[in-house]
């Protein structure tokens, strides 16, 4: 095949998908605006606020570790259509969101555009903002603070207001509907918070051990004390000596509960819990992490029920 023949063959090859693309451009439904969130909990809240006015997609599944999402180009396809992208922030998605945003080529959610919303800006009290010397010798640290703030439902209330406000700015015709949706949702969430707090009252003041440093907001909300971590440093597999010291700590502090997310090494956590005489509680870290947690309120309910052993 000569160079000219190769060129013609390639041009034909290129034209085929181009023509296909032109023919298959979907007809706009003209109704619901497309909203994308990184976390399923943010998507759940957005759905409650927007109702039928919006279509919401979460990039991360509830059973996935949100730190280590693979930036699949197909996610860029969803981002391309979005009028609003809501992300957690505090560098939770730093490893995978930037290349997706670049691939999406959507000016509505580009840096600086009103369609790009960082949920953590609603959080009044970010926990564990590091002070003093900071280095990656400390493991997978978050220089701007702990990003798992959605595990405290009071933060979810603040995020609800933030999303409703931004939706109203982007879609003024629906502003009242969004504010009504947010108010109604707040009411239901506040009721669930009160119910969960009453249910978790027996846990108040108790010590727990966690596999990974991600339950601080939950512990802070329920008045539980996280006294140790199976991982000596976040994201680094524990050495046997550290595991032995954690087992001793569980016994010494009479720790009753060891907590691990579904996507962590739950087999290792089970061994630690058994050796120390504690109960392993595998928790969903996000909405959809286990069955029956398809929305934020059900997720909150499941987390607290599992913690108290119901």
């Amino acid at each position: 095949m000569t160079a000219v023949q190769s060129t013609r063959a390639f041009v034909r090859l290129l034209l085929f998908p181009l023509v296909g693309a032109a023919l298959m451009q979907p007809v706009s439904a003209g109704a619901a605006e497309s909203i994308v969130t990184t976390l399923p909990s943010l998507a759940s809240i957005a759905r409650e606020i927007g109702g039928d006015r919006i279509e919401v997609i979460a990039l991360c599944r509830g059973y996935e570790d949100p730190h280590y999402i693979q930036p699949k180009p197909s996610y860029a396809k969803s981002l391309r259509k979005a009028v609003l992208l809501v992300y957690g922030g505090l560098e939770l998605e730093v490893g995978w969101l930037p290349p997706l945003l670049e691939t999406a080529r959507n000016p509505k959610i580009a840096p600086g555009a009103p369609g790009l919303l960082e949920a953590s800006t609603a959080v009044q009290r970010v926990l564990e903002i590091p002070s003093g010397e900071l280095s990656r010798a400390q493991g997978d640290i978050h220089p701007f603070g702990n990003p798992h703030f959605m595990l405290d439902p009071h933060n979810a209330l603040a995020v609800t207001d933030l999303i409703a406000q931004r939706l109203g700015e982007l879609d003024p015709a629906g502003r009242e509907a969004y504010l009504d949706g947010a108010a109604s949702y707040r009411q239901r969430l506040e009721a669930k918070i009160a119910e969960c707090e009453a249910r978790a009252e027996p846990l108040r003041g108790k010590s727990i051990v966690a596999y990974h440093k991600q339950w601080e907001y939950l512990a802070d909300w329920l008045g539980v004390d996280v006294v140790g971590y199976i991982e000596a440093k976040p994201g680094i597999p524990p050495a046997p000596r550290h595991v032995a010291s954690i087992i001793e700590l569980i016994r010494g502090h009479h720790v009753e509960i060891v907590v691990a997310a579904t996507f962590m090494d739950t087999a290792a956590a089970e061994k630690v819990a058994q050796s120390g005489g504690a109960r392993l509680v595998v928790l969903p870290a996000e909405v959809g992490g286990i069955e029956g947690t398809d929305n934020y309120i059900d997720f909150l309910d499941a987390v607290v029920r599992r913690l108290v052993g119901q």
Binding site: L14, D65, S74, K77, P98, F263, D265
Partner: protein, 356 residues
Amino acid sequence: MSGSRAPWRSTWLIAVGLIALPAARVEAQSGSTATGTSNKLNPAISLNSLFSARKSDAASDEDGFRAQEFEMGLVSIVDAHFRASANIAFAPSAGGAEAEVGLEEGYVTVLGLPTGLGLKAGRFFLPVGRHNQLHTHQFPFIDAPRAVAATLGGESAGDVGLLASYLPDLPWYLDLQAYVTDAAAEAFDSASRRVAAGGRLVSLFDLGETATFEAGGSFLRGPGVAAGDATFLGADLRLKWRDTRKTHGHAVTWVSEFLLAQSDQPDVSGAYSTLLFRVGRQWWTGVEYSWNSLIPETGRARSKEHEARVQLAWVPSEFSALRGEFGWTDPLGGPRELSATLQLNFTIGAHPAHQY
């Protein structure tokens, strides 16, 4: 086809020195209005380093300890209209303190274009095939497959130009790219006043939530070194699977690529296939086979080269990796070679984006 780097050397050394030294001195004064030395809007900076040790049964020049490359990456939003990215590579000479410095990539992308459209201007890796778009520290194996080296050059080939891309709104992911460059890459006649032009299309399909299949086609044409044009064609396939229910669950990546270089000389073609498998939280293993033709010279009985490699990698974090490789090479014009290579790869500074 690797671009020439020597002309950049002194200029970049001076530039980097001028930038780095004052920044270090005024760190404690950041935010000062009076001095104008705030560093709050500095680019995200990272430095990747590659060190290796190699031993072969053929007493190759490449044997021994080697500081392969240091690559500095800078990324920032320029203003409301542009985003900028630069990758400056320092390749130390064997055993010496001097380093060849080159701008691997340095470009701006335009913000705020109509949805789906992208525009990139500056120096960028030519999107010919898949492997040519990777920086050295992103290579799946320590060095590029011989198939890529024979057709496009051992290091990823870049050129200065303009690249337009489009992501249509379709049920599947389809990315279209078209570009023109100044044809200054090694494979082209840089004295020619003509430009080189090329295109690439990539389709990706989700196979459930855990797997994707991707197919790409590439084309590049420009003024040849001898008479006539030089044309490069590429076709690549990739299949990825990952256990998404665990933080560092098992994962498999299979990549195969075919490349063809045509000019007034006989065609040069090559293909490789790579299989990578994450066997544990911090452990990866992989195998690769590469085949390529070379322009036969008078008296040679054959015109094919073959290469096979196996790899075991320890990846303790996103910022470091230790890789060990055994390689078998059947080169043209030389004896068959067995080699063992160990490479340390680490990054400091800004968090690197996850590759897909």
